[in-house]
Symmetry: C2
Subunit: 197 residues, 2 copies
């Protein structure tokens, strides 16, 4: 019933994270109805992503001729302090604070079970190799979400890297700015009390 | 912080129905990480949609050289019975039953308020013009969802088309096959009683 082009589009789009077959089907019809110029613009916006590369040190994206991203090749950044983040958007959020002068390691989506995928083990291995060659890191910050799976993953990563760094830390927990004590859960309030300053 | 290609991708993708900025951002990074071959495949799957056209009679998609889709140019279909559907996927579901031998009119996403958009008024106008030229339709089936907005839209469309057709019907309501009486809402059960057979 559906032309091959539509079936192909649905197959490929529904394989993307968070997009199901229903939504991909709706998108296909919406795009066809939006006309050739829009379809071309959309195809080009995807093709444009080909020009981006993944940093060989921290696995963030970049457009440089070399293998390193802007942060990793910045001589003013401290390469001995590493913030391990789950997502590229976490890195961007931390960069926006302007408070962090070390470098990063992007892990990619973490499993809810705390188990590491092969690609994630390889990424952690790059830190271990660097430590072996150039000595232990000063500090590794596990900048993962303070959620159950973030805590699980942090425990696994901390064990993996314990001999590669002098210090392993996590982001401080407490009541977020603008938040209300009344609505803070027990765990958050406990952390806020322990870390009072 | 983000390269232009990524910002462009996010801007275009987050304008699609059901895709927010967060999801578009995740998709961008996921695609970049998936490598050039995957990015190209995805871009091509979109570009492929350019080859599809919209039927000038029922507004379903097709790939024919003429202006009409396979259903509208099929001499075995009764052009005097029209099923008005909201979505292309509704048309496909009805076709799969093999029970309908008329033709369709695809309205496109209906507003929750029952108000018709300009493009939808134009689509209804094609039916009115046909009726003026070739006489009233035998039957127009309002094959819209039995929901509040579906009912509202059906009322508006019925009023619009009352002089263009001998009969206006809607799909039968009742307990779906495999459903349980215990869980049927009042309205459904009332319909099922009224339409018992």
């Amino acid at each position: 019933m559906l032309p091959e082009e539509v079936r192909n589009f649905i197959k490929i789009f529904s394989s993307l994270p968070g997009i199901g077959i229903r939504q991909a089907t709706r998108l296909a019809f919406r795009l066809i109805g939006s006309g050739k110029a829009n379809i071309e613009e959309m195809a080009e916006s995807i093709a444009g992503l080909q020009h981006l590369k993944i940093c060989s040190r921290c696995f963030f994206i970049h457009k440089n001729h070399e293998d390193l991203c802007d942060i990793c090749r910045d001589p003013k950044r401290n390469q001995n302090i590493v913030a391990i983040v789950e997502k590229e958007t976490d890195l961007i959020s931390i960069e926006k604070t302007g408070k962090f002068k070390g470098r990063y390691l992007v892990m990619g989506d973490l499993a809810k079970t705390g188990d590491m995928e092969t690609i994630q083990k390889l990424r952690l291995a790059t830190l271990k190799n660097t430590a072996k060659k150039s000595g232990q890191f000063e500090e590794i910050i596990l900048a993962l979400n303070p959620t159950t799976y973030g805590d699980l993953s942090a425990a696994v990563i901390a064990k993996e890297l314990e001999s590669s760094t002098k210090k392993i830390t996590r982001l401080g927990r407490g009541i977020p700015t603008g938040g209300e004590i009344e609505f803070a859960d027990d765990e958050t309030l406990r952390s806020a009390l322990e870390r009072r300053s």
